[in-house]
Each structure stands twice: as structure tokens, then as C-alpha cells.
């Protein structure tokens, strides 16, 4: 059996709040094979977002290990985590988090620019843009786009550098049901057509149903 793309063992994260240690992750073990669409569900405070932040290189772990494609990222320096974010993961957030001053096209282009890939998207990515249904909306700034369109632009931005993992944190949390369905359809299509590995945090059981597998978190552990 091939090695999982993501291999997490005994992952711990303790936040220091004032003089108090607050454990957010208390020993998470999780394997995610390449090409899987995984939903992570759980109540608020269960550690879902913290797990995402560590996998995405936004914060270091306190203990345990996280291997992505065989590379242990738990001991990376700040610069190492920056490189990880640039090359191996793409984020989609609940609040879309597009840069408001740039057009949709420029929001995508700046991700390529930061990754050192130039600004022009590859011809095959045009197909992805069509799949996302935003090819005609690229010259608009976020304020002129609907929530669904903004989230699809955010997805395009997240995958433009062909990351190994797409991390989606409540991607439908700010969308109505119609746009939620559209965004989830798109994510499932990306997973099926491109083999994109996707980890999605959600509170919504209907959204979780789009994934191949659902894991539940509670009190900083996989339940």
C-alpha cells in the first residue's frame, strides 16, 4: 500500500493564553491518501481549525509529527512554513479572503507571483476557470462579485499553483444553499477530474456528504 499524502501522528498544539496553557490538539492521528476528499466535522473548539493551521503551515505544532509527501513539516522554521504555504497547500476560507483592491484575475495572478511562477495562468488552467464558472468575471473586483463567485475565485487562487492539498475551512459557511451547492460541486469536480486532495472543515452534514470520508473531532482528538 502506498504511503499516505498526509501522515499525522500524536499531533499536539498548546496555546499560551496569558499564563494559562490551553491545549487545542491533544494527540491527533490521521492519514489522508492522495486524491481523497476528506470532511472534518466537530463542534466549535474541537481543534479542527488548529489542525488545518498546522497542516497548512500557518502555525507550528507543539508536539507530534505531520508528514506531507514524506516531509516532516512539524519542525519547519518560519521560512520553511512560508515555503510550504507557497508550494504545497492552498487555502479556501469561510470569508473568501480575496484581496479587495485587486480584480479576480489579479487575486489569482498574485498567488502565482508569490510562488515565483509568473503571473499568466497556464492554458490548461483556463479550463479550470471555466469549470469554476468565473471565466467571464475575472476583471471584476471582489466587491462586484457575489459570495459564490468570490468563493470560486478563492478556490481558483488556492489551486493555481497546483498544491498537493486544498484546505477549505467552512467554504460554504457564508453562502446560501444554492451557492453552497455550486461551490461543493466544483470542489468535488476538482477532486474527481484533477485528483486534487481536499480537506474540508464543515459544520454542515450536507456539505460533508460531498466528501469521500468524514472524520469527527472532539476535544482536540479524532473521535
Amino acid at each position: 500500500m502506498s504511503e499516505p499524502l498526509i501522515e499525522i501522528r500524536g499531533l499536539q498544539k498548546i496555546y499560551r493564553v496569558g499564563k494559562v496553557d490551553v491545549p487545542a490538539l491533544r494527540g491527533v492521528d490521521l492519514d489522508v491518501p492522495a486524491g481523497e476528499f476528506l470532511a472534518i466535522v466537530g463542534p466549535s473548539g474541537s481543534g479542527k481549525s488548529t489542525l488545518f493551521h498546522i497542516i497548512g503551515g500557518l502555525t507550528p505544532a507543539t508536539g507530534g509529527s505531520v508528514r506531507i509527501g514524506g516531509q516532516d513539516i512539524s519542525s519547519l522554521s518560519d521560512a520553511g512554513r512560508t515555503e510550504l504555504r507557497k508550494t504545497k497547500v492552498g487555502f479556501v476560507f469561510q470569508k473568501f479572503n480575496l484581496l479587495p483592491n485587486l480584480t479576480a484575475a489579479d487575486n489569482i495572478a498574485i498567488a502565482r507571483h508569490i510562488a515565483g511562477r509568473g503571473q499568466t495562468v497556464e492554458p490548461e488552467f483556463e479550463e479550470v476557470l471555466k469549470l469554476l464558472g468565473i471565466a467571464q468575471r475575472l476583471n471584476h473586483k471582489p466587491a462586484a462579485l457575489s459570495g459564490g463567485e468570490q468563493q470560486r475565485v478563492a478556490i481558483a487562487r488556492a489551486i493555481v499553483n497546483h498544491p498537493a492539498i486544498l484546505l477549505a475551512d467552512e467554504p460554504t459557511g457564508n453562502l446560501d444553499s444554492e451557492n453552497s451547492a455550486a461551490v461543493l460541486d466544483v470542489m468535488r469536480d476538482l477532486n474527481r477530474r484533477l485528483g486534487q486532495t481536499i480537506l474540508m472543515i464543515t459544520h454542515n452534514p450536507e456539505a460533508a456528504a460531498f466528501a469521500h470520508r468524514t472524520v469527527r473531532m472532539r476535544d482536540g482528538r479524532i473521535a
Binding site: H53, G56, L58, T59, D78, A79, T82, E83, L84, R85, K86, T87, F91, F93, N97, L98, L99, P100, N101, L102, D106, A109, I110, A111, H113, I114, A115, Q119, R157
Partner: protein, 368 residues
Amino acid sequence: MTAKLVLENLKHKPMRSLLSMFLIAVPVTLILCLVGLSQGMLADSARRARGIGADIMVRPPGTSVLTLSGAPIPEKLVDLIQRKPHVALAIGMIVHPVTSVTFVSGIDLAQFNQMSGGFKYQEGGPFQGPDDLIVDEYYARQHKLHAGEHVTDVLNHRWRVSGIAEGGKLAHLSVPMRTLQDLTGNTAKVSQIFVKADRPANIPAVMAELKAFLGPAYNIYTMEEFTSLLTVENVQGGALSTFIDVMVGIGVVIGFAVVLLSMYMAVLQRTREIGILKALGASRWFILKIILAEAVVMGLGGTVVGIGLSFLARWLIQSLYPASLTQAITPIWWPIAGGISLAGVLLGALYPGLSAAAQDPIEALAYE
């Protein structure tokens, strides 16, 4: 792409950007106006001195190229100098301050005409009586004077404006020497003596003769020497130069403070965007570069606006105070003023830039 992001960020808050540029422009304008006024007024003094037509200037003991007070030279000395070899003409002149920047000259008009070629009158003509006054075009414009009118604000004496002359010769105001001598209690005394040699080749010989005759206490200059000594560095023993340095320092501090506040505000407003960039893999240097680039654009914009405002200031000065102040446009100082403002803005942007670069991406993304 970085340039686009920087420009879009500046365009996103146009009032903040424009206001910052304007505030950066203020010290640039101050520096350019100060330097321009210093150089302009010195150049104007040199031009007026050359307009007299003399080859040599004799100033009394205790004076410098830029300070002249009272009339301590006995008038009979003019006659003695006139008799020296190779001296074609020697004339005495009394100078008295009217304001801190305006002087009135007491002249023997016939002798002055002989040395300088005479005034060119735009209105009226030469003195007709002892209480006549010739003003130059700049003074006339500033004080809205015409030939034949009377003025009383020069030494509290009632003068009749006999003529309005083209500028560039002597002081802005000229009156008969005897009248000014009597009015200022300097009868038979002059402030300085102008000498014309019979031939330019004999100027060194006349200089040597005058130095031997008058002794080391008198300040004797060829007009070339005199005009070359009218520099910023020579004013008040270098005080003007120091003052300009102080203004330059203030310029750096203002540029620093404006950009520090502006960029600090911008970084606070854009905390979330900084988090987004970090989530995309932007390095600390990338974030710092964006903040510094914004500051540089504002610094350059402020410099351009500041240069523009210095032209506006000159136009205002020329329109309102043509006889009092002369401001030169000093392009050589544009890159210097630009460099000063850039130094200020880079210093000011450094702290907000570094704090933005050091932001925790998770906290930044959670910022509302």
C-alpha cells in the same frame, strides 16, 4: 504584480494617499523655498551690485560682504581716491535700511549715471529736487506707486516719486545723497565707495594702490570678488547654511512622522490582507517590500507636489512682494529634497513594515 498591488493599495484610499503626499510635500516645499529665497536674494544682490558698473568696491572697517551699517567713511576720501592713478571715477554712496530687507541708497545722480550708464525710466525721470525719490519697477509694483505720487513711509520723510526705473541697479529706492546724509545724521559721510578703473587691465594696480592707501582695516573687493562672495555659506558666518541644514533635518522628521502614521494606519487597516498574503506564501520580505514601496511612491509623489508648490510659492512671492523677496528655482536641489523626503519616508515606513512582516498569519486572518 507587486507594483500593481502597491498602486491599487494607494488608489484604494485616495484621500489618505493624497493627504500623505501633500504632507510629505510641505517640507520639500519649505526646503526648496528656503534655498530658493537664499540663493535668489543673493543673486539679486549680486546683479544689483554689478549693475552699478564699478570695478572696485571700498567698504569701511568692521563690515563684510553682507553687512553694511552706518556711514563711517569721510566723504573727502572719495576725492582722494579719485585722484589715484588709473582711477577713472570714484563715487560715494550712503545706504540706509528701510526694512530688514529693503534699503534706500543716497546717490549723486550725475556721478551714478556716469558710472552705471544711468537709470532707464519706465515712468517720470531723474531727481528734480532734494526730496525726490526714484523707485525701481519691483518696489513700485509692490507698493502700487506711480511717478508724481508722494510717499511718507520711507524714513518718515515726505518724498515725491520722480521716476520709476527698471530694476537691477543699486537698491530698490534711491534718493539724493545730501538729503539722506542729513536725514540720517551722516553729513559729509558715505557708507561705501565705488571705483571704476580707466581700463580693466589696470584694476589690479588700482586695487594695490587702494590697499596701500587705505590700510588693512578697509575691505576692498573687485566686483567679481564681491559677487562671488555672496554665497549661502558666507551669510552670517555660515548661520544661513546651518539654518538650511536644520530645515533639512526638520524635513526628514516631518516626512518620517507623516509616513510612520500613514503607513501604521494602513497596516492596521490591512491586517487581514497581510494575513491573506502570508497564507498565500508571501515572505516577510515580500510584505515589507510592499509597505516600503508604497512609502517610496508617496515620497516621490510628495516630492513632485513639493516642487510644484515651490513654483506656486515663487509666483505668490513675485506677485505680492516683488521688491522684498526674490526666490530662485533651484533644480539642483530637487533630487536633494527628493532624497531627503525618501530618507524620511523609508525611515517612517520601516517600523510599520516590519510589524506587518512579523504579523502572525492566523491572528491577521482573524482580524475584523
